[in-house]
């Protein structure tokens, strides 16, 4: 059951007015331009015990994605494919409004939006993750941990996920053991990826569209649209959020703005991943 939230702080009307009147002048409350994302810092390999990980700061939003690879049973309708599972935890360190407990609808939505963008585009080569056909496959667990919530968790989670997956290594499996076991921390190869996928979120506040909304902007926004993209610009998912409505023309504009933003995200991730892999290589030699 989904309930109208009763805990979220009401943003004072005066704050909303300030935000909108600034937008009328093309300005945002934190000084950004409407199509400007906050500073991004990406730290792959933050959790050494994970098979892949990335700490991402998007402005003051902090998200940590950790990838663990496990053995599991394939789905009956895909006996020859590995499995990707996305889970998001809005842990209570991150916000006064997060409570300890199982994921709520917002955490499920975030996880499922990111999950679908990877799943539907076959971004990971799941067929290369089979251990015993029809019986044992590798399960790629992507756990998205929100550490500080200052808005736009979906984009931060998507950036962390892609940076983590792109630096994930697949551990060796002892197939002779019965049942087979993973040889922890002995790596065989990089995670085989077919496509790079990212999600960019645009908020509509009054009549204005802004990219990468911060928490104050989110709380006054009428709606948000998260748009997932493959590196080549194909749309790989949409999710409208918020209690307001969108004009059809808004959606076109939001997709366009989303793609502009997505390209920035891809660039930042590629830089961080390349530099991390170079560092790893240097350390190895």
């Amino acid at each position: 059951m989904s309930l109208t939230p009763s805990q979220i702080p009401l943003v004072p009307k005066v704050k909303k007015d300030t935000i909108i009147s600034l937008l009328e002048e093309g300005k945002r409350i934190d000084g950004r331009k409407l199509d400007e994302v906050r500073p991004i810092k990406i730290e792959p390999g933050y959790v050494e015990k994970a098979d892949g990980s990335a700490l991402v700061r998007l402005g003051e939003t902090v998200v940590l994605a950790g990838i663990k690879i496990e053995l599991g049973t394939p789905y009956p309708d895909s006996p020859n494919e590995g499995i990707m599972m996305v889970n998001a935890e809005f842990v209570p360190v991150a916000s006064p409004y997060f409570e300890p407990g199982p994921p709520d609808e917002n955490a499920f939505e975030l996880a499922r939006v990111i999950d679908r963008s990877f799943r539907e585009t076959h971004a990971i080569k799941l067929d290369e993750l089979v251990v015993v056909p029809g019986q044992k496959v590798l399960v790629i667990w992507d756990d998205i941990y929100v550490l500080n919530h200052a808005g736009n968790l979906i984009d931060a989670g998507a950036i962390a996920t892609l940076a983590a997956l792109a630096t994930t290594r697949v551990p060796s499996v002892d197939k002779d053991a019965d049942p087979p076991i993973i040889k922890r921390f002995e790596y065989e190869k990089e995670l085989p990826m077919e496509k790079m996928v990212i999600t960019a979120t645009i908020a509509k506040i009054g009549q204005h569209l802004v990219v990468d909304p911060n928490d104050e902007e989110e709380s006054v926004a009428d709606s948000r649209l998260s748009v997932s993209f493959v590196r080549d610009g194909t749309i790989a998912g949409l999710q409208k959020m918020g209690e307001g409505a969108l004009e059809p023309s808004d959606v076109d504009d939001m997709i366009e703005l989303g793609w502009k933003t997505a390209k920035k995200y891809f660039d930042e991730i590629e830089k961080a991943v390349t530099s991390y892999k170079r560092m790893l290589k240097n350390n190895a030699t």
Partner: protein, 253 residues
């Protein structure tokens, strides 16, 4: 389970889909309001074999009181699938998918309901999927909106929805389960058609920018047809009532 090779999703020669529909054809749509006796409002909506029941209770009080809001009614929405509604039996405990869909449906309904009229109350909308054959969330919100209207809850506009998609390379309207599970994209859309506003939009799958535009336009066309049916079924009902000289609202108050 249907084998993926068994079905020709789109027959280029005949220009038809696996069930004989043309890309722009909806399945037969049926709607009925006032189908449940206890609820303040209710509706049964069918898109082909997809069959959805929605019921509205409220505005009413809830406990504990600290969950209410002083300036408005809260909405409580549950989208739920009957265990026998799906090809494989579904565990009746709410799945992650059902939790997400309850949220996106709630947010869509928030855009239409005048919640400020009923402070410190809850308006409950329960959507039960009795049979699932694709497009359950959009049929569900279509039914929910009818049930709210049947309950006499004031709204900015009705909400109507449909799932469009890409199947066998073609953009098609009102995707069914086979098309959803084997096609390239499924895009549920719901609108307040009288106001021309989108209140629910999701996309599972891949579309080019061009395909998206084609799909959204197809959705808008279908939604307008569904909207006309909604209005006509409500009109019928209220005409019937006034003829009988009675009013359902009074019955329930």
């Amino acid at each position: 389970m249907v084998k993926k090779t068994d079905i020709l999703l789109f027959d280029e020669e005949k220009g038809v889909r696996h069930d004989g529909r043309k890309p722009e054809d909806m399945r037969p749509v049926r709607m009925q309001v006032g189908v449940l006796d206890n609820a303040q409002g209710s509706a049964l909506v069918e898109f082909g074999k997809t069959r959805i029941l929605a019921a509205v209770y409220g505005p009413r009080e809830i406990l504990p009181k600290h969950m209410t809001l002083p300036g408005r009614a809260i909405l409580r929405i549950r989208y739920h699938m009957a265990p026998f509604s799906t090809t494989e039996r579904k565990n009746p405990a709410p799945s992650r998918r059902e939790i997400e869909l309850s949220k996106v449906i709630r947010e869509a309904l928030e855009a239409s309901v005048f919640t400020r009229l009923y402070p410190r109350t809850t308006i409950d909308v329960f959507i039960e999927v009795l049979q699932a054959d694709g497009g359950t969330r959009t049929a569900g919100i279509t039914a929910a909106s009818l049930a709210l209207a049947d309950a006499g809850i004031p709204m900015r506009d009705l909400i109507a929805g449909v799932a469009v998609g890409k199947v066998g390379g073609r953009i098609v309207v009102d995707v069914d389960e086979v098309e959803d599970s084997m096609g390239e994209a499924d895009m549920p859309v719901a609108m307040m058609p009288g106001l021309g506003k989108i209140v629910l939009l999701q996309l599972n799958g891949s579309l080019s920018r061009e395909e998206f535009k084609q799909a959204i336009n197809m959705a808008i066309g279908a939604i307008n047809k569904i909207y006309e049916m909604q209005k006509s079924v409500l009109k019928e009902k209220f005409t019937a009532y006034s003829e009988a000289g009675k009013n359902k609202q009074q019955q329930h108050s």
